[in-house]
Point group: C2
Chain length 458, copies 2
C-alpha cells in the first residue's frame, strides 16, 4: 500500500493523495449507497496524470473508481472493491463557450450549474442538466447519461455530447467525436462511452452542444382529483402534437411532503398535479399553453394555475425540485427508484405502483418526468427495520418486473450501477449482456476500471 | 462454392440465392463505386435466416457484406472481398406507427420514403431522411447514420433510433435500446452500432422516434453575388438564435448545372444561393422568416424570394434535390465528397475548395447542408482520363486535409467505407483506430462481416 501511495504521489504530488481514514470516509458513498471504503483517494489535475495512474493501476492490478460529486443514485461511483478512488474535481476549467457554433468545451470536473450559467451569459442554454445540477459534475452526467426535467423536448445528456477527450482503462488518451454537428468517421465511440458509468473510460473533457435560449417560457400547475386523468392528459397533450419543455407529475404523497416542508400552498387533497412548461417564441408558447389548458379541462382538471410572473414560475418549480428532499424528511431511509415505460403505459404503471405499495404495506411517493414515461417511485422506509426492508426489496423487484412487462426499462436516467445490475438480464437478456462484457474485456483487459458495475462481475 | 450455395438454399430456399454472373453484377456497385463481384447473392426473409447465414459463414470463414438499396456513396456495401452479398430487401414490413408514443417500428429493408409517408399519414414526421430517401432503405440509413436536409434543426438518423433488433457477426440475435424515450440500462449498444457501416451487425428491425408534423413551413431562396456573404449570413442567422429546419447552399457551378438541366429560372450569374426553410407554429415561422430576410439583406443579398404557395416551395426544393443529377450530366464521372467543418469555418472551407479547384485545374461544384457545416464538393471528371484523375486524387486529399485543419471531419454523413478509410487516421489517430479495431475483433472474431471497411484491414 505505502509503495502504491508513493508512486501515486510521484504522479499527482503529495497533496493529491488522501490516505487517512477520515478522508477516505468522505468518498465512501453516493446519493443512494454508502460505506464502501476506497484504499486511497487520488486527485489528478489533468488527463496526462490520469493516464499515468491507469498505467500504474494496470501494472499493479489495482482497481480504480472515478468519481465526480457523488450525486449518483445507483452506486456507480461507490468503491465496493476498495482500490483507488479517482476524484475529478480539479478538472474544473470551462475552456470555451462558442456562441457562433452553438457549443461549449469544458473539463469533466466542472459543476453542471456553472456550465449552464456560462452558456446562459451568452444567451445559450444547456438543456439536459439533472435535478442535482447544482452539485453534480459534467463528467458524472456524461458517465450516467443523465436526464433532467427538459428531456421531453430537449433530450438527455448524450444528445449534447459532440465529442470527448477520455482516458482509456489501459491509459491511452483519445479524442472521440468531432467539433462538428455531424460526423460519421468511424465507430461512434462517443455514443458507446456516454452512459458507460465509468467502466470503459474516464472522461476528462467534453465538447457539448448548446441551444439558443428560448425567448419566452410559461409554466402551468394543473391539479387533478384522480391520477389517471393526469396521466391521460399527458398522452393527450403529446398526441395533439404539443411538446412541452417540461411535463412533470407529483402524486398525493409527494404533494403533501412538499407542502409540509415548504408551505407554498400545494393542494394537499389533490390526487396528483402536473407541472408543465412550454418554451419558444412568445406567440407559439401562448398557443401551446392555451391548448394544454383545454385538454386538461376536458379531462376534469380540478384547477389550472398559470404562472404570471417569473417569481410565480420559480415558486412552482421550487415545489418540483424539493420533491425528493421533502420526501426524504419523512423517514430515515429514502430509496429513489427510476423506471421508464412507453408514455402510453404510464397510467397503468402508476396504478401498479400504488397497488404494490398497498400489497407490501410500504410508503411510496411517486413523482417524475411523466412526459418521458420516466417515474421516480420513492420508497420511504428505515433500513434498520429488517422486516420492512424485506418487503421493500420485494416491492422494488415487482416494480421493475412490471416496468419491463409494460415494455419499459429498469433505468431511465439514473444508471444501473450496483443497485440495478441484478435486474439488467431481465431486460437485456444473456446475449445482450455478453456483448457488453465482450466490449468491456476488449477495452479493459485487466478489468480494473470500476469492475462489478452495470452487469455485475465480468 | 456449390456446397456453400446448397447450404444457403437450405436456409433461404432456392429463389433466395442468386449465383449467375448477370445477377451478381447487379450487386457489384453502390452509388459511387463499382465492379466488385460477390460470389453469391442471398436474400433472407427474417432475422432467423440471417442468424443461420452468419453461423454458416463463420463455420466456413466466408465474408458477408450486407446491402440495402446500394445508394451509399463510400463503397460501404461493395463486396470487395467477394463472398456473400446479403440483400435485405425482403425485410420490408412497417410493423407499427405509434402516434401516442411518437415512434414507429419497421424492418430494415423498408424504403425510407415509404416509412416517411406512413408517419405522415398520422400527422407525424421522420425528419432525418437522406436525399436518396426515395430508394434508400432504413437499414442502410442506420448503418451509415445518414443525415439529410433537416439535420440542422432535427439531427441525423442516429438521433431517431430508439432501439434495434440486430444479428451479430457471430449469429446471435439481440435487441438494443428500448421502446422508451429514455433508457440507460447498460452500454448504449444502439449508439455504437448506428453508423458502424455493416461491420458490427446486420440491422433487421428498428424502433424509430417520430415527431409531430409542424403546422406551417416557409421556404426562402436567397441570391448572393459573393459566396462569402452567403456563408456569413448562415453564421449570423444561427448566432441570432434562429434554427431553420433546412439551410442549404448551392454555388455558381451547381446553380448553372441545375438551370441547364431543369430550366426553373435559377439565377445563373449568382455566385451562390441559400435555400432556407423554417417550420413550426405559423406565427413563429413568419417571425423567423422575417428575421432571416433582414439578416440576409444586411449582408448584401441580391434578392430574396419567399415561396408563397406549396408548389412554389416544391419548385425551390426541386432545385436542391436535382443538384447532384444536374452536375452528374456534365461529365462522365462524378465524385461527390462530404466534408464537415464547424459552422464558423464554412466561409474559409468554401474559399479553400475554390482555390484547390483552380490549383489542380479541375471542375468542382459545391452544394450541401451549410447549416451543419456539411459541404458536398462534387468533382466532375472522367475516370478514363488518367492524367486528370491524378490531379483529382491530389485535390481530394487536400480538401480532406484542409477540413481536418479547420477542426472538421472527413465524413459528415456519407460514411468512411472504402473511399475515406485512408484519411481516417488523420482525424482519429492511431489510438482511436486501435479502440475501434478492438471492438471489431471482440464482436467479429473471424472478421467476416464487411471486413476492410472504415479502418482498412483489421
Amino acid at each position: 500500500m505505502t509503495a502504491l501511495i508513493k508512486e501515486l504521489e510521484d504522479i499527482v504530488g503529495k497533496d493529491g493523495v488522501l490516505a487517512s481514514k477520515e478522508e477516505r470516509i468522505c468518498y465512501s458513498y453516493d446519493a443512494q449507497l454508502s460505506e464502501a471504503m476506497p484504499d486511497v483517494v487520488v486527485i489528478p489535475e489533468n488527463a496526462g496524470q490520469i493516464s499515468k495512474i491507469m498505467k500504474l493501476a494496470n501494472r499493479r492490478k489495482v482497481k480504480v473508481v472515478p468519481r465526480g460529486s457523488g450525486t449518483g443514485l445507483s452506486g456507480g461511483s461507490v468503491p465496493v472493491n476498495g482500490g483507488i478512488l479517482l476524484l475529478l474535481r480539479k478538472l474544473d476549467k470551462i475552456i470555451t463557450i462558442d456562441r457562433e457554433n452553438l457549443m461549449g468545451v469544458a473539463e469533466s470536473g466542472v459543476v453542471t450549474a456553472r456550465f449552464c450559467e456560462a452558456a446562459g451569459k451568452v444567451g445559450l442554454m444547456y438543456p439536459p442538466y439533472p435535478s442535482s445540477y447544482k452539485t453534480s459534475m459534467l463528467g458524472g452526467n456524461i458517465a450516467s447519461n443523465a436526464g433532467g426535467v427538459m428531456g421531453l423536448k430537449y433530450g438527455v445528456t448524450g444528445d449534447y455530447v459532440m465529442g470527448m477527450e477520455v482516458v482509456l482503462p489501459t491509459g491511452e488518451i483519445i479524442k472521440t467525436g468531432a467539433n462538428t454537428v455531424k460526423s460519421v468517421s468511424g465507430y461512434d465511440l462517443t455514443g458507446l462511452l456516454v452512459g458507460s458509468e465509468g467502466t470503459l473510460c474516464i472522461v476528462t473533457e467534453a465538447t457539448l452542444k448548446l441551444v439558443p435560449k428560448p425567448e419566452f417560457t410559461q409554466s402551468l400547475l394543473v391539479v387533478f382529483n384522480d391520477i389517471e386523468s393526469a396521466a391521460k392528459s399527458v398522452s393527450e397533450i403529446i398526441s395533439a402534437g404539443i411538446i412541452p419543455s417540461a411535463l412533470e407529475i407529483m402524486d398525493n404523497a409527494t404533494i403533501n411532503a412538499i407542502e409540509d416542508f415548504k408551505k407554498i400552498g400545494m393542494p394537499k387533497t389533490a390526487d396528483a398535479v402536473l407541472l408543465i412548461e412550454a418554451d419558444g417564441i412568445k406567440e407559439a408558447v401562448e398557443k401551446d399553453a392555451a391548448r394544454i389548458s383545454d385538454i386538461c379541462e376536458k379531462l376534469n382538471a380540478e384547477s389550472i394555475k398559470t404562472a404570471k410572473t417569473v417569481s410565480e414560475s420559480k415558486e412552482l418549480w421550487e415545489a418540483r425540485t424539493s420533491a425528493l428532499p421533502a420526501l426524504a424528511r419523512i423517514k430515515p431511509t429514502t430509496m429513489l427508484e427510476d423506471v421508464t415505460v412507453p408514455r402510453g403505459r404510464v397510467p397503468e404503471m402508476i396504478t401498479y405502483i400504488q397497488q404494490i405499495a398497498k400489497k407490501y404495506d410500504i410508503m411510496i411517493g411517486t413523482f417524475g418526468h411523466i412526459g418521458d414515461g420516466n417515474l421516480h417511485p420513492t420508497i420511504l422506509t428505515d433500513k434498520r427495520d429488517r422486516e420492512e426492508m424485506e418487503r421493500v426489496e420485494k416491492a422494488i423487484e415487482e416494480i421493475f418486473k412490471t416496468a419491463i412487462e409494460l415494455g419499459g426499462t429498469v433505468s431511465g436516467e439514473h444508471g444501473v450501477g450496483l443497485t440495478k445490475s441484478r435486474f439488467l438480464k431481465m431486460e437485456k437478456g444473456k446475449e445482450g449482456i455478453e456483448v457488453m462484457r465482450a466490449i468491456k474485456n476488449a477495452l479493459d483487459p485487466n478489468n480494473i476500471l470500476n469492475p462489478g458495475k452495470i452487469f455485475g462481475w465480468v
